[in-house]
Amino acid sequence: MKRWIYAGLAMVAGRRQVARSWRESGERIVPEGQPSPGAELAVMALLVCSAICAAGFVVVYAVVPLDVMTQWLGLALGGCLAFGSAAAIVFSKTLVVDEDAEEDYPEPSAEDVDEVRRIVRESGSRITRKRLLLGTTGLAGSALGAALITPAVSLGPVFDTESLYTSAWKRGKRLVDEHEVPYKAADIETGTFYTAYPEHEGTDRIDAPIVVVRLDPAELKLPPERADWAPQGILAYSKICTHAGCAIALYRKPLFAPVEPRPALVCPCHYSTFDPATAGSVIFGPAGRPLPQLPLMIDAATGELKAGGVFSGPVGPGWSGVRDGKVRFEPSGPKGVE
């Protein structure tokens, strides 16, 4: 231990001597500046303040009650960093000798350019099959590019999109809530909305949740082929917005229809708004296609709600080309509706 201390002292003394000798030798590079004891004092005071703040952080952490601790911790740490930065700024502005020096870029000469060319050429002296190397490099590059572009094919009708039309719903599936309790037609009231799932399919599939509302049957304007999809005016649509795939969590329901906007299913993400009375058509917002509708039927014996078929279209978010109608969504043939 003693030897270590001696060694340290010797090192400090030695450095002093080196510094002194360097100071005495030759002419200066940086012009000599005036000493400024006041500025030194200011820097030291700021550094001491910074240290006090840092110590304050420790004290706050140990003493201050938990519910107000965060602000004091932030204040202490912020003060520590602010005083430290202020010290650095004062130091660099007042105690470091500086000068402005300019140097023009050298004019490029023909010799320099030639030298660079030679360096490049001569660096390749170990290569014997240049073309083959270039070819394989191109191969790797274009293969990578092709790999990155490939997913774009899914945007168009090139690949089979049949799987988009299959879902957890099929004819006869009962509508249940998140506790697998079946919904009865009599449970569905007007003026509110319900989330239902297909029985025994779980709640975590994107094609499972549907939103169920009841409207006055006289208000419905469904296309003729969907005339029997809404028994007693009870309608079901996929709960997944066709824009970006958020859940349709809002139901806009007028209390007094003559002076208020129409009932609508609204997605809270980007306010895509769908009209349940007109087969889920988009009446506002960025969604590009209607909500897929699920035909319903009522079990005559139990009064429970059941799916009367499959969705009218693919469930889930839209993609490029949907809005301008380039991609067609009609289910192929009679598969769409049982």
Binding site: D100, T192, P254, P258, V259, V266, G285
Partner: protein
């Protein structure tokens, strides 16, 4: 010159008077002396003067615009109030949403122009007309759980009212902030579904869950702003905006102050 100025002044005065005359009448039509009237009779007279032009002479509602416009060029249109009960009447009158100046406006909270006694009278009169309907709810927020309330509020309400109940917009309506709402008013709104809000039956939100929601909503009046500044309590986007707009500006200012431009 002086004559021209005088003429202009006269024209402006006449135009202002004409505009004032064209404004629909404002304020409440009251019986001359309210003191001697029984509550139902007071309610009947107030209803006839302030409500019947839209809700019909016997609260039966007016659902299609009549050919003639009424007082103040307003077309009367309003739902039937038979059977809505004290619950809805109390909500709309106590929060100043009714009487509404124009049936096409969205009813919004304001200082009620009717006194408490007058509101009680209208409630007594309208509930005496038909089915009594649901009474004013009596929530017990102290028996609800605030964490369950937050969860239920997030699930059912925050989509429109925002997570700290500051309100916002939906397509076609403004969503009110809920800091001014009292416990019964919150319970009433959940059950009625005012304006474009869906209503929630006891099957969807039971009484205990409603207590929890009320407790959570009441707690948003004084949200714990641990950071010191709530920035409207409308979520992480304004917080990030403040960080970027303030902190980055300060940083750039410090850089500009510290840096030195070499002049050639």
């Amino acid at each position: 010159m002086r004559r021209a100025v005088g003429l202009a002044t006269l024209l402006i005065a006449v135009a202002t008077a004409a505009m004032a005359a064209a404004q629909p009448p404002v304020g409440i039509v009251r019986p001359r002396d309210e003191r001697g009237l029984a509550p139902v009779e007071l309610g009947r007279q107030l209803f006839a003067g302030n409500c019947s032009s839209c809700h019909g002479s016997l609260a039966q509602g007016i659902s299609s615009a009549p050919p003639d416009r009424g007082v103040g060029d307003v077309t009367g249109l309003g739902p039937s109030l038979r059977g809505v009960g004290a619950q809805a009447l109390d909500f709309y009158l106590r929060t100043g949403r009714m009487p509404l100046r124009d049936p096409h406006e969205q009813p919004e909270r304001q200082r009620p122009e009717l006194s408490g006694k007058e509101i009680d009278g209208i409630i007594a009169y309208v509930t005496s007309l038909g089915p009594a309907g649901p009474p004013v709810p009596d929530p017990h927020p102290e028996s609800g759980a605030i964490n369950e309330g937050l969860k239920l509020f997030t699930e059912h309400c925050a989509g429109c009212h925002q997570i700290v109940a500051q309100g916002g917009v939906v397509t076609g309506a403004r969503v009110p902030g809920l800091q001014a709402a009292s416990a019964p008013e919150i319970a009433e709104a959940v059950r009625i579904g005012p304006y474009l809000m869906p209503r929630f039956s006891p099957k969807q939100i039971n009484e205990h869950q409603l207590d929890s929601i009320v407790r959570y909503v009441l707690s948003t009046r004084d949200p714990p702003d641990r950071g010191g500044w709530g920035i409207g309590n409308i979520g992480p986007i304004p917080e990030g905006m403040v960080t970027w707009l303030l902190a980055v500006v300060v940083l750039i200012a410090v850089c500009v102050l510290l840096g030195k431009r070499v002049r050639s």
